[in-house]
């Protein structure tokens, strides 16, 4: 047999890590980007056209193992620190109180003397309330401002929605980083908050890639936006 058996692609770096268990155990799990490895493993297999279920199975098994290693580390980290040992000191046994009838000196006069002071305090409390009332702004003073604020938010939401509809044409999805590319940080924050309002209203769908932390925005509910026409 002269034909040289070519090593399958997944035995080369970086995927080889998923197939050599002895190496896996020496690794720091935090250094392994499982999502990247699996994604590229799949696309590589797709591009070569050679689907190997055994290799996929091993890759899946190894990924699970790496996840387990990560979880174990997390759990170790989350363990509360051991409580400091209480200092050892001799605590004597409880002293038991003998029961003695003890007449006390408080009289009805004492009770009435302090009552005067307490009732003054009660009066002050009422005065405080009376004084406090006019200081509070009337409802009518606040509401117009609040309504204007809401109207402004709605206006901004509409504008952003139009921009989004324009930008997602074709692809259906746009990354948040693309949307706010080149704008000031404060403007990016405003856009993000408006997106939350739009998501709340069901006008956009948001989800985040946990590895890259990229935020994806789809106009409308996710499936409808891509594949179906919205029901009327």
């Amino acid at each position: 047999m002269s034909a040289v058996v070519k090593k399958p692609f997944y035995l080369r770096p970086p995927w080889n890590i998923l197939f050599e268990l002895s190496k896996l155990e020496k690794l720091t799990p935090w250094n392994v980007n499982i999502a990247y490895l699996l994604r590229s493993f799949l696309s590589e297999m797709e591009s070569t056209g050679k689907v190997d279920f055994r290799a996929s199975g091993v890759a899946l098994d190894s990924s699970a193992l790496i996840y387990l290693m990560k979880s174990k580390l997390l759990l170790t980290l989350q363990e509360p620190p051991a409580p400091p040992k209480p200092p050892q000191d001799f605590v004597p046994p409880p002293l038991f109180l003998p029961l003695r009838q003890e007449l006390t000196s408080t009289t009805i006069q004492n009770l009435l003397e302090v009552l005067d002071e307490v009732l003054k305090g009660e009066k002050m409390l009422r005065l405080d309330r009376v004084v406090a009332q006019p200081v509070l702004p009337a409802v009518s003073d606040i509401l117009p401002q609040f309504e204007m604020f809401l109207a402004e938010i709605e206006l901004q939401m509409e504008k952003l929605y139009e921009v989004l509809c324009e930008k997602v044409k074709g692809a259906g999805i746009i990354e948040f980083s693309t949307l706010v590319k080149g704008v000031a940080r404060i403007e990016a924050v405003r856009t993000f908050i408006l997106l939350l309002f739009l998501a709340q209203d069901g006008k956009v769908s948001l989800w985040q890639n946990e590895e890259t932390e990229e935020l994806y925005i789809a106009v409308g509910s996710l499936n409808l936006a891509r594949d179906q026409k919205p029901a009327s």
Binding site: P98, T104, S105, V114, L115
Partner: protein, 195 residues
Amino acid sequence: MQETKNQPVDQKPAGPPSPDEKRQRALRLLEAALYVAGRPLDLNELGSVLNTRSKNKTQKLVKVLMQEYSVRNTALEILELKDERYVMQLKADYTPLVKKLVNRPLLSSGPLKTLSYIAYRQPVSQKRVIEVRGQHAYGHVKLLKDMGLIAAERSGRSMALRTTDYFADYFGLTHDIAAMKRELKRIFGDAMQEQ
């Protein structure tokens, strides 16, 4: 307390106690109860230390104890009050001679103020008491409850604080709340005018 450790305890014979010994033990328990309570006790409370529900039996025994005290030459007496309540107290003619030795207040000033407010405004919600007296009054309310001076009672949908019979007994006021409030207002009014 340490001195009591090696005190001779009531001597108990080896066999089961005789009826007379049991009776003596019951009398001493009633005496102990009246002494430590320092307030009038009813037949239920007295019976509870004897582990009996028989008011009749309790009453017979407490009357024997009263008799013991009245024939003995002593500064203390046990009295029967109305509503079948009993109290141990100092005989009145000794009071002025020894009252200079009584110098411990029932309550310190903070809890006393809270008590006076509850007595005057009762029934009053705990919320209101805290508003007027401040956050520290939570502790006062607990202390006053522990001491049996006030109790919480359901008032409509919420809980209201009121003074107890023990409070009334201590300050020599009537047990009827409405009458007590009138009494307090009258005494209080008099006190204000005097100033």
